[in-house]
Amino acid sequence: MVQKATETFFKSESRYRMLVENSCDIIFSLDFEGRFVYVSPAWKNILGHELSEVVGHNFREFVDPEDIPRCEDAFMAVIRSNAMQEMTYRVQHADGSWRRHTTRVNRHRDENGVKTIFGTTHDVTERFLFEELISRTEKMAMISGMAAGMAHEINNPLGAILQHAQNIERRVSADIPANVQAAAEVGVNLDLVRAYMQKRGILDFISHIRSAGMKASEIITNMLQFSRRSDAGAEYVNLSTFLDKVLELAGSDYDMKKKYGFRRIELQRLYAADLPPILLSVSGMEQVLLNILSNAAQALADGEPSQQPRIIVRTRLAKGMALIDIEDNGPGIDEQTRRRIFEPFFTTKKIGVGTGLGLSVAYEIVTKGHRGMIAVRSKPGKGSCFTIKLPLQETA
């Protein structure tokens, strides 16, 4: 009778073990210090470590430091209240990459009164990346629509401001006969009127209205790019020749030269020899590349002075796409900035320096105008690399 019961017990324990060891999700238990007492073999499949590298080690060795407090809070809550807790956090794979995991934890007290935390972990990295992509795409579409609508509405009053300011400037000038005549009719001397306006700064005020209006107008023009289909004027170009021309343009740009010392930057051109002609909107793609180059030059100007600033422009073919890399060895971009870098109005520059539109317009031009892709990789301290992927066209 006893033997029968024991047999049944072992049978069912091995069945439980089989369930735990073959689970696709990670099943684990932790002591109250946060050390792994047990992890199921799924850990190795999902995160690449040998189980012996995990058992006895603290969960803090694997979880992103930023997410550790969140996990600690969940563990504290489960220890205090015995209510199931769920948390999502980043955890490092044995190969150094980061995965996103969702874990549910509970508390257990065994027959000897030893308490452990146990939990199951599901890898949600792919789903997370997909959701992030969808929400970014939706956000971009919404902001683009709003930006274009606003630009149209602002355009008319802005035009009126600029043109009226221009008219005021002209109507106090003695060069226009109608002004001289009108002044004579009301019995004033136009030169004296002008001298008064000069003395009281009025002419400067008007010129400030104009220059501020021009600045606003530049922003509006950029915003209108969102609704613009830039397929107009598409032509087949030799990418190497095109990139040489863009680099030449960048080198002759005033800001690039004076503010960011573009001439000081070592340019490496690593062009693939086997690229077919690519269909491009020349002005659109110029704008994209100049924007990336100007950001790179700015980043290099802010970088480590001891290091030779360098930009690598590389082309290559991959999976039916032509790729353009623009890589710098500047200070790089942190992860939070990287994630938002293509959002309209997102800028890390000082107020008034950047509009936060440059790269969002670049994104629109590449994705909508060219059905391509644009992405950025970066390691803080090591530089950044923008990659533009353009579909190859079948030429007749």
Binding site: H152, N155, N156, P157, L158, G159, A160, L162, Q163, H164, Q166, N167, R170, R171, I176, A178, N179, R210, G213, M214, S217, I220, L224, S227, R228, A232
Partner: protein
């Protein structure tokens, strides 16, 4: 009696824009007739016979493109320009009456001298005839 080579007809439903452009062109010595609707302008364009007609695209009644096509029948010697806030690609019909991309002026024009340059060129050709 005005010299029709220096006559400009302007259609824009925005009063501020009408005032601005009119003031600027008058200062340059042009005579300007301005209207808020295409319908009004269409009635009078044959009598005015301007060198240049500048039209907005989005007008309250008749659309700018339709206006130009009709006006062109009434006043065939007039050259037509578009002054519009919308990014616009010329239709085949407008190209057929001789309009080109250089005849489109995007609002806001920071500097009306560009528009004047164009009008002066056209007026010079017409004045020379």
């Amino acid at each position: 009696m005005t010299d029709s080579a220096l006559t400009v007809l302007l259609v824009d439903d925005n009063e501020m824009i009408r005032d601005c452009v009119t003031a600027y062109l008058e200062d340059e010595g042009f005579t300007v007739y301005s209207y808020a609707t295409a319908e009004e302008a269409l009635e009078l364009i044959a009598a005015i016979n301007p060198s240049v007609c500048i039209s907005d695209m989005r007008l309250p009644g008749m659309h700018g493109e339709e206006f130009i096509l009709k006006a062109q029948i009434n006043s065939p010697l007039t050259r037509y320009l578009l002054h519009t806030g919308m990014l616009y690609t010329l239709s085949d019909e407008l190209r057929a009456i001789g309009m080109t991309d250089g005849d489109i002026f995007l609002k806001p024009l920071h500097d009306l001298s560009k528009l004047v340059q164009k009008i002066t060129q056209i007026a010079a050709v017409r004045g020379g005839q």
